[in-house]
Symmetry: C2
């Protein structure tokens, strides 16, 4: 920053040449570090070593580009997930928005508690309550209508703690990792327990991951002709749960080959990491451990959201890479860079 | 061929230069026709006009590369489907191969008829009989085991009429079309009623379509640890039928955006074509009409395999492109070129 200002003042030819040289060196150094938000600690070194060995021609671990599949969990791995999964916050926002069309909700749980601002009371009903909220807010419209609803929400809704757009609460080190992997011929996929249609409207812009490379949970849809116009209607019926043992199933269904690298943060990712790591040849498995209560949140074995317990044990036993967010990431959110 | 020989004789500098010129013109002409197996009739002209208008910068119909999604049916569109779907022939071959492990099949229909060589008798049981044959041959093994079974079959089994490998009975004009579309920034997908795992082992080699761009019907799979090793086991339970109204559902599930071009040959493709054609902006819908009883097969409205009836009417009503195989394709199979 200082030398930048010095170089922008009116200066002589020699100084100018020197400035150009210094800058070119600085820029070339910046270009050689594809992961600047990662501290120079073990996880970054492990990532770079893995990428180099699978991409270097003649390396015994070389993997053809077509087979360089990398899968990423979303909640807690690419973006934050506290104080609760962002999709649940979306559903709560939708209940409020839809309440005027549903006067009966004033008397009916879990909606009644929710509309009084009592989220805990509403969620006390457990999974059936959550399912009711999800179906009331995610089904009953066409796929195009739902796409618009999600886009509008993503462009305007604010996180209760940071006041940021949810799509701003993505992890800068992971954005760099996605770019770095793609620059090395990897095809990057999301494999998330979250809703596939909740992610697709914004993953291309935010992560550079196109809709066809997003795998997630889904409800059933039905093809219909409405006044001769074909539509897909979202039905209040679970189609697929892309979590835990469902992740390798979802990977197989959508991608049809085993990833060589997988990235997660919770026990919901354990089977994806097992499936990835068990393939032949070089493999990479990484867990993000949320250890930074100041810049983000600190949680693991006891958390109801993003619990990391069995997977942490297995990572330690098998030598998978574990990111200590506090220590290994020098920036967490992209907006920190602009402050 | 003749001028090739003339030019390979010892010759003077001027002749050489002339030869080089002639060749370069010939080669450049060959390069400018990306669809040489298509006759210069309306379908070829419609394809080229569509591709040019969606790819030309500044065209009012320009479509960004990321949205250039093209979907292809497989049976009857990319490869042949007579005298019955090749996957059914695969299942019959598998019944014979598995018979020694199933002595009870000698007394049990539809297997008993099948093992006596009475295919018609076996299939007389209709859909339940077919389902029994499919589940007995497609389920009960891991995904990796099934992959090997399909690869071995594709590398060795022969078509009852032509004596060719099934993967040789693909349509040369469609292979050229796939390459042409990809060269113009399209992402090509298969969207087939056939089994997704029956296609993936060979589509990359035969069509240049990687596993992650294959959409098809599927049975359920289950993640298990066997002696600590993760496997996906194929269960005898239908997961998804990617046919008729299922095709837009499968497209939405796997690709997450609407194709701008779709290619089919039967009523099973009608809804995919409707869904594709109903999007905004330039759209292309094509049906392959099997009209060549000499070089291939001729069938449409009355056929039990690949029936083309309602979709043919709708194509005519809506002005979709219909390929008359006899008239519009000057080569059908790649091996004709080598004869």
């Amino acid at each position: 920053m200082k030398s930048d200002r010095a170089c922008s003042r009116p200066i002589g030819a020699v100084t100018l040449a020197l400035c150009a040289l210094v800058f070119s060196v600085a820029r070339s150094h910046a270009q050689t570090d594809p992961l600047p938000s990662w501290s120079d600690t073990a996880p970054k070194k492990a990532i770079v070593a893995f990428v180099e060995k699978v991409t270097r021609n003649g390396s015994p671990d070389f993997v053809p580009a077509a087979e360089r599949i990398a899968t990423f969990d979303n909640d807690g791995t690419l973006w934050a997930e506290q104080p609760m999964y962002f999709q649940l916050l979306f559903a709560l926002d939708r209940v409020k928005a839809l309440a005027p069309q549903h006067p009966e909700w004033k008397e009916k749980e879990p909606f009644a508690s929710l509309l009084k601002g009592d989220v805990k009371g509403a969620l006390a009903g457990g999974e059936p309550a959550v399912a009711q909220i999800v179906m009331a807010t995610h089904a009953g419209m066409t796929t195009e209508e739902f796409d618009t609803i999600v886009r509008d929400w993503a462009a305007s809704a604010r996180h209760p703690k940071t006041g940021r757009l949810y799509t701003e609460m993505v992890y800068q080190p992971m954005l760099e990792l996605l770019v770095y992997l793609r620059a090395n011929g990897f095809k990057t996929f999301i494999v998330s327990g979250g809703g596939i249609e909740f992610m697709r409207p914004w993953t291309e812009k935010v992560y550079g991951i196109p809709p066809e490379q997003v795998v997630g949970s889904s409800i059933k849809t039905k093809f219909e002709l409405r006044d001769g116009k074909p539509v897909l209607v979202r039905l209040p019926e679970v189609n697929f749960v892309d979590d835990k043992a469902g992740k390798p199933v979802g990977i197989h269904q959508h991608i049809g080959r085993r990833p060589i690298a997988a990235f997660g943060n919770s026990d919901g990712d354990l089977q994806m990491l097992q499936w990835t790591a068990a393939g032949s040849g070089a493999r990479f498995a990484l867990l993000v451990h949320h250890t930074d209560a100041d810049r983000e949140w600190a949680y693991d074995r006891q958390s109801s959201i993003g619990r990391l317990d069995a997977a942490l044990d297995e990572a330690q036993a098998k030598g998978w890479t574990v990111v200590d967010m506090k220590k290994d990431w020098n920036i967490i959110y992209p907006f920190e860079k602009q402050q």
